[in-house]
Structures are given as structure tokens and as C-alpha cells.
């Protein structure tokens, strides 16, 4: 089963990478960039009996390893 996880910085947490990308885009001539936030996108292929079981498993993976919940949020999609 395939799972897709988006990991993004919590609101209010500084995103130095996003900030620097926004500046770089500006100096490349892209005007009108208000904000850039950089996150992670993780695709997993796992064995699971059902979509619900897969979601529960990936949920545990996120809270234990994939995301740093002190500063990051995560969002899980299961593709069936």
C-alpha cells in the first residue's frame, strides 16, 4: 500500500530555507513572491491489511520518527 506524508513547519516557526528561497527567487527576477515555506514529502510503500491499518501505522511512524512534532506538523494520505 502507498502512503504519502507531507511534513510542514508549524505556523510561526521560522523557516530559514523558505526565506532564502524567496529572496533568491526575487533576485532571479521573479517579482511578487510573498512567501515560501519548505517542507518534506515522503512516499512510503508498506504492507498493511487495510487502508485504516496503514494509516494507523504511518501515524505512528510520523510521531516516532518522520516528523519532529515540536516544530512540524504532518498530514497522511493513503492511496489504495
Amino acid at each position: 500500500m502507498k502512503a504519502r506524508v507531507h511534513i510542514t513547519l508549524r505556523d510561526g516557526v521560522l523557516d530559514p530555507q523558505g526565506k532564502t528561497i524567496a529572496q533568491a527567487l526575487g533576485s532571479l527576477g521573479f517579482s511578487g513572491v510573498n512567501d515560501v515555506r519548505q517542507g518534506k514529502f515522503i512516499e512510503l510503500d508498506i504492507e498493511a491489511a487495510s487502508a485504516a491499518a496503514a494509516r494507523a501505522e504511518v501515524e505512528r511512524m510520523c510521531s516516532q520518527l518522520l516528523a519532529n512534532t515540536v516544530i512540524e506538523n504532518y498530514q497522511i494520505e493513503i492511496e489504495s
Binding site: L14, P16, Q23
Partner: protein, 738 residues
């Protein structure tokens, strides 16, 4: 925005006692608004006001012929000759690093760098002293990995070499790891910048990153102990931006080549509040600031949030109005925010305006002067469990015991750590991590600065005063072992909850030991930092007064290093051996006991022995030198031998037991202080021993360097390859989860 009524609950949540709040009202002549209360709260927090420690810190010797600036400035400044000064300080980032190890450690490095370049110095070296919980604790591996990556991530990016440090483990740090970072910088003595705001009408300028809602109340967090729900009460974690820091270093140092900057101060804990108060208070002036001009990252930020934010990579400076364009151009070149946020006034007040309305108006001197100073009750901690060397049996095999020690978490090689740090950038690291002190060449000269950090918390636990003195003496010894003349120290005092008399007793004892050692060694304290409340549910960390020392080497061509240089040289032990095993690593790691008093520290002998060794090095009469500390004599011999494994040819040694009435394991593993191992050409041995005797220094030939093994005459032998694998392997296999 400030209309919220100040209830007793709000006062309490700001960490102020009812009595302190009464003083606030007296100073203000009215009830404060929320912004004002927030400002009082951070200014009077333990972290900013040093209320529990001030009384004791005053006892430390802080002056000396080379001291240019002692404690009280952003960092200490010491004259190193030729019109240059070394600027250095060590600081803790313990609590943030436990909550978010990577960012907590990274921002710790960022903060200490700013303390140093604020004074006009280019940072030339970073150090880090780390204490983690027991390796078996479920969180330890994650904390080590995050902290080390964070220190590297920040230091590597800004391009300042991380040249050394410490890393040990003990269960007392389980819920409270310690992350102490030190920076050393180099400046021309006539180009040191201070933070006193002067010149009525001058501009107050904000430079660096924008302000967000980061770490609001971090300073008060560092002033309270952890409890079960601290994890839930987390403020927004501060994220470090080393790229911006690098730009800030370059921009500030560029502008500092001119005389544009009148005063400058980094925004550390309690951000804009402490920086602005500090600048005005030192200058005896006032400041008026328009908070609408502060560059912000988020919408709707209140004056309270702007004043208390701990966003990183920000500085405040005072410049003359006619120099604004010149200053702005430099920061614009480096693409950093530059905003005039206020002016220096003669009112003695801090007046903050936002959107045309007064947001806060406080008198500066009374607020600073009334910062609480406490004389907290203190009592000596209970004495350690009794221990008598005579009750110990000899180990079955000396070399097996040595191998166990060398592969123990505290003594094993920390290569896994320092390889994650760029320790060579700036191309002046002439002694890399792994030796006694690191040595960094002073750019463009043949001089060098030796740098070390040390502390033996188990000694401080057993006897705080001896432990405090030992920490200072060990740094002095590590510097001496390179041939350096020790100059001065910085301290980073990590303790539990000062509201407990026992913890305060540890603090007072350690300070007393530090004081005595500094005085005896003419080795003043020029900067420092106190971190209390390293305690969870009433369990405090071992008292850990980390000491960072620096020393000067006149010519790096003549410095010494621990690695054996040639086979067939004599191995000499300088200093007296009593076979003291109380509070030793041997006792803990081999016998599983933490008991006994620490080895006594005889400061007069320490000085005599060190001065003698330094002279030997200066006269090129020794070929290698290493101090004897944790683990004792045989561990030190092993370290000198293992250091040759990086070179072309491995060199070991054969050691013979002297006839001195000590049990072999006491002599081999005792941690008596004030000792060094040196190697010398055979021809020089007699003269060295004679000179030692004349100088009143104990010296003894204990062996000879030789092939790639370590041998105890008439007993055991072990190959360096085997010993090296054990020493080198523990940390990396532990971190790999094995």
C-alpha cells in the same frame, strides 16, 4: 492591546513573587501594563538577573595584568600581545536542547558566537561541553544525535571551526542534558566594541533577522525546573539560521572597521528587552523606541511579543544620525534587515511606542538596581560514601581493565562527534581534536591559542570545593601540556534548583574551589554563565561547573602534543602518586561503585609541576606531553600511544611498576592530580630528573616507548590495534544502535 488587568495569576505566571510585584508597583508608581510586567519578569528572571548567584560570583578573581574586560561585558577580553586580544565566553543552552536537541544546540552556538563578535572579534574557534544521561536511557541516543548534528549544522555553516570539547554520560543527566558552547574570537585591542549607549539623539538601529513569536519567555523557562507537563508548555521553539548569522558576522565586522558604531549588543535571552535595557543602563541614558519600526515576520505582533521574542540572529546598535547611510549600505550589501527603531534620550527611561501610542514607559536605573539579589540558604551536601583503597582486590588482568576503561562511555574516543564538526575551516587548526587542548594559530603569525574545556562532575558531587578547584586546575594542566602559558578562564556553572539548600551548597562550594584555584594559579575568570534548575522532579544533575581555559603559545613550532614521537625514548612521570582511587573512573567502571572523596588538589604543587613542564617544553627537552587525568596513569600512557595510530608508524610503550609500596592497580589507575607524562631522549633523562629534584618536583622514569603494543613489565601486554579498536568503537557502535 495592554488593557488586560494584571491579576495575581498573571503575576505568578510571570515568575514574580507578590513581594517582587509590590516593588514593581513602587518603581512604576502605578500598576504596570502587561508589556511592562513582561519586561520586569524577564529582567528579574534568574537567567538575566543572576539573583541566586550574584552574591557568590563576586568572590571570583577577575582581574590580572592581561585582563582587558572581565565579567560584565558580552564576553571576556584578554591581552595576547602585539596589539591583539582574545575574546571568549562559554554559555549553556541546556533546556532548549532537551526539548529540541538539534535547534536547541544550534541556537546555543549562534548565541555564543554573537556574544563574541558583538565585541568586534572575529570568531576563530568553537568548543562544546556536553553531558548526557546514561547510555541506557531511552532518550540518550536521540539527544546525542540531535545535539551533535545541531552544533555541527550551525558551526560548520558559519565557517568557524569546532576544535574540541567534552562529552560524558551519567544517569543524573537523564532528564536534563547539558549543552555548553564556547567561542573564542580575535580582535585588535583598540577595536573592541562595548554596549554602552551614549550620545543623546543618536540612533538605535535594529539589524539582522526579523522578529517572530519565537521562544517568548525562554528566559523564564530557563529559570524554572522541568516537571511532568513542561513538554506541553513549550514555547515556540527557536530555529537557528546560520546563514543569516554568517552574513551578520561579515556585515558587523565590516562596519566595525570604521568608527560608525558607538555601541552594539546582541539580542540574546529576553531579546529586545535585555539588549535595550543593558545598553541604556550602561550608558546612563534613556531610549525611546518605536516598535512599529521593528522588522517582524508575523502579523499582529503585540508590543509584549516584540519585546519578549527570542528570535535569533538579531543585534541592536547605536550610531550617529549622520552615519546612517554608511551603515545601511553595509547591511544592505549583505541583504540583512536594517531599521532605525529609536533614539538615545537623556530621560533615563525606556519609552516604547507602537502605532503612535505609548506601549510602555519604565525607569531604567531603578528597574535594574532593584533586580533581586538573594542570599539563598545553603548547606554542604552530605559526604560521599566511605571508601578505602585497601578493600579493593587487584584486577585479574591490568590490560583487560584498561581496555574496559578505554572503551567506557566517558573515556572512549569522541571521534564520532568531532568528525561531524568542521574543525579545520579557517586553516589555522594546528592541533585538532583528540589531544589535550586544541591549538589554533593566530592568523598570519606563528603564535597559537590553546583552548580547552574541563570539569569532573563526579568530583564536584563528592566534594564541591575540591571539584571546583580540580576543574580549573585541569584546564590549566591541559593548556600547559601543549606548552601554552594559561591566561584566563570562562565558566559555565550548571546546577540544580537553587531553592534547595543542598544545591546552593554545591554551588557555593564549587565557587570557593574555583576561587582558590584561580588565585593560586594567577588565572582569572573573565566571563561566565550560570544555569540553574537543571533538575526534573527533584532530581538534580551532578554539579557541573564547566571551565573553559585559554593559553598562549609564543611559537607553535615549539608546542607539544600527546602522541609518542619515536620508539626508544624514556617515559617520565612528573608529579606525585598516592594511588587515590576514591571517586575515580576505575572504581566506577571496573568495580561499579561511586564512592569516596575525590583526589586532593594541591594548588601549590599543581603550579610547581606545571611551570616545570612548561619550561621543559619551551626548552625542547621533551618530545611529547600529556596530562594525567580521568582514568589515571595507564590510561594516559594508552592515549599517548593511540594518538600515534593517526600517523605513519604506531608507537607503544613498556611501563614498569616502581617500588613505592602502592598496589599496582592503585598506582596505574589512581587519579592523583597535578601530574603529567612526558617523553624524552634517553640522553636527556638524567638532567631532567636532576632539574626536577632541584625544582622540588617529583619525577620518575616509568618506562620506554617501543613497538605497537602496551606492556606492563612482568605482567600483561596488549596490541595497540586491539586497544585502539575498543577505544574508537564504543561511541559509533552505540550511536548505530548496536
Amino acid at each position: 492591546m495592554n488593557e488586560q488587568a494584571i491579576t495575581p495569576e498573571i503575576v505568578k505566571s510571570h515568575g514574580l513573587t507578590p513581594e517582587e510585584y509590590q516593588t514593581v508597583i513602587e518603581i512604576m508608581g502605578r500598576e504596570p501594563n502587561l508589556t511592562e510586567l513582561g519586561i520586569f519578569s524577564v529582567m528579574w528572571s534568574e537567567h538575566c538577573s543572576y539573583k541566586s548567584s550574584k552574591k557568590w560570583l563576586r568572590r571570583l578573581p577577575t582581574t590580572g595584568p592581561r585582563v582587558i574586560h572581565g565579567p560584565g561585558e558580552n564576553a571576556g577580553a584578554v591581552d595576547i600581545g602585539d596589539g591583539q586580544a582574545a575574546i571568549f565566553k562559554m554559555e549553556s543552552h541546556n533546556h532548549p536542547s532537551f526539548i529540541e536537541p538539534y535547534q536547541g544546540a544550534a541556537t546555543g552556538v549562534g548565541g555564543i558566537l554573537r556574544d563574541v563578535f558583538t565585541m568586534g572579534a572575529r570568531p576563530i574557534a568553537n568548543m562544546n561541553a556536553l553531558r548526557f544521561g546514561a547510555p541506557e536511557d531511552a532518550k540518550t541516543r536521540h539527544l546525542v544525535s540531535g545535539v551533535v548534528a545541531g552544533i555541527g549544522g550551525y558551526g560548520n555553516c558559519v565557517g568557524v571551526p569546532t576544535v574540541g570539547g567534552e562529552c560524558t554520560f551519567h544517569a543524573s543527566y537523564n532528564g536534563n542534558n547539558l549543552v555548553n558552547a564556547m567561542t573564542v574570537g580575535l580582535v585588535e585591542t583598540n577595536k573592541i566594541f562595548l554596549s554602552s549607549a551614549s550620545g543623546i539623539g543618536n540612533l538605535v538601529v535594529y539589524v539582522g533577522s526579523k522578529t517572530g513569536r519565537d521562544g517568548i519567555h525562554g528566559a523564564t523557562m530557563a529559570s524554572a525546573e522541568f516537571d511532568e507537563d513542561s513538554e506541553a508548555k513549550r514555547p515556540t521553539v527557536q530555529v537557528g539560521d546560520p546563514f543569516t548569522e554568517k552574513l551578520l558576522i561579515e556585515a558587523c565586522l565590516k562596519l566595525m572597521e570604521t568608527d560608525v558604531i558607538i555601541a552594539i549588543q546582541d539580542m540574546g535571552a529576553a531579546g529586545l528587552t535585555s539588549s535595550s535595557f543593558e545598553m541604556a543602563s550602561k550608558g546612563g541614558t534613556g531610549i525611546e523606541m518605536d516598535l512599529s519600526a521593528v522588522p517582524v515576520r508575523e502579523t499582529g505582533m503585540t508590543p509584549y511579543e516584540i519585546m519578549l521574542s527570542e528570535s535569533q540572529e538579531r543585534m541592536l546598535m547605536v550610531i550617529a544620525p549622520e552615519r546612517e547611510a554608511e551603515a545601511r549600505a553595509v547591511f544592505e550589501k549583505w541583504e540583512l534587515d536594517f531599521s532605525v527603531v529609536g533614539t538615545v534620550t537623556d530621560t533615563g527611561r525606556m519609552r516604547l511606542v507602537m502605532n503612535g501610542e505609548t506601549a510602555a514607559d519604565l525607569p531604567i536605573a531603578p528597574l535594574v538596581a532593584a533586580a533581586p539579589e538573594l542570599d539563598r540558604p545553603h548547606e554542604p551536601p552530605p559526604p560521599p560514601a566511605a571508601f578505602d583503597e585497601a578493600t579493593l582486590n587487584a584486577p585479574d588482568s591490568v590490560m583487560a581493565a584498561l581496555t574496559t576503561l578505554m572503551a567506557s562511555p566517558d573515556l572512549c574516543s569522541k571521534r564520532w562527534i568531532w568528525e561531524q564538526y568542521d574543525h579545520m575551516v579557517m586553516a589555522d587548526t594546528v592541533q585538532r581534536p583528540g589531544g589535550d587542548a586544541a591549538v589554533v594559530r593566530i592568523h598570519g603569525t606563528n603564535k597559537g591559542l590553546a583552548i580547552t574545556t574541563d570539569c569532573t562532575p563526579r568530583y564536584c558531587t563528592a566534594d564541591p570545593e575540591t571539584g571546583g578547584a580540580q576543574a580549573v586546575a585541569e584546564t590549566w594542566r591541559n593548556l600547559t601540556a601543549t606548552g601554552a602559558a594559561p591566561l584566563a578562564i570562562t565558566d559555565c556553572l550548571n546546577f540544580g534548583n537553587p531553592e534547595r539548600a543542598e544545591v546552593m551548597g554545591q554551588f557555593v562550594g564549587c565557587i570557593e574551589g574555583i576561587r582558590k584555584a584561580c588565585e593560586a594559579l594567577d588565572y582569572p575568570v573573565v566571563s561566565g554563565n550560570v544555569s540553574f534548575y537543571n533538575e526534573t522532579n527533584g532530581r538534580a544533575v551532578q554539579p557541573t561547573p564547566g571551565i573553559g581555559g585559554i593559553g598562549l603559545i609564543d611559537d607553535i613550532a615549539g608546542m607539544a602534543s600527546p602522541a609518542f614521537k619515536r620508539a626508544g625514548e624514556a617515559l617520565l612521570l612528573i608529579g606525585e602518586s598516592a594511588g587515590h582511587l576514591g571517586a575515580s573512573l576505575y572504581l566506577r567502571e571496573i568495580e561499579g561503585r561511586e564512592a569516596g572523596a575525590p583526589p586532593p588538589v594541591d594548588l601549590a604543587m599543581e603550579r610547581r609541576n606545571g611551570d616545570f613542564v612548561r619550561t621543559l617544553i619551551a626548552d625542547a627537552r621533551v618530545t611529547a606531553c600529556h596530562d594525567v587525568s580521568d582514568g589515571g596513569l595507564l590510561v594516559a600512557v594508552a592515549e599517548m600511544a593511540l594518538a600515534t595510530l593517526n600517523g605513519d608508524e604506531p608507537i607503544g610503550a613498556e611501563v614498569s611498576l616502581p617500588e613505592n609500596g602502592l598496589a599496582p592497580h592503585c598506582w596505574l589507575f589512581g587519579e592523583d592530580q597535578g601530574r603529567y607524562l612526558v617523553t624524552a631522549r634517553m640522553d636527556d633523562v638524567e638532567a631532567i630528573l636532576a632539574d626536577a629534584e632541584a625544582a622540588g618536583v617529583a619525577a620518575l622514569r616509568i618506562g620506554t616507548t617501543g613497538d605497537a603494543s602496551l606492556t606492563l613489565t612482568g605482567a600483561d601486554t596488549i596490541s595497540l590495534a586491539e586497544l585502539g579498536a575498543a577505544h574508537d568503537g564504543w561511541l559509533s557502535s552505540y550511536m548505530a544502535g548496536a
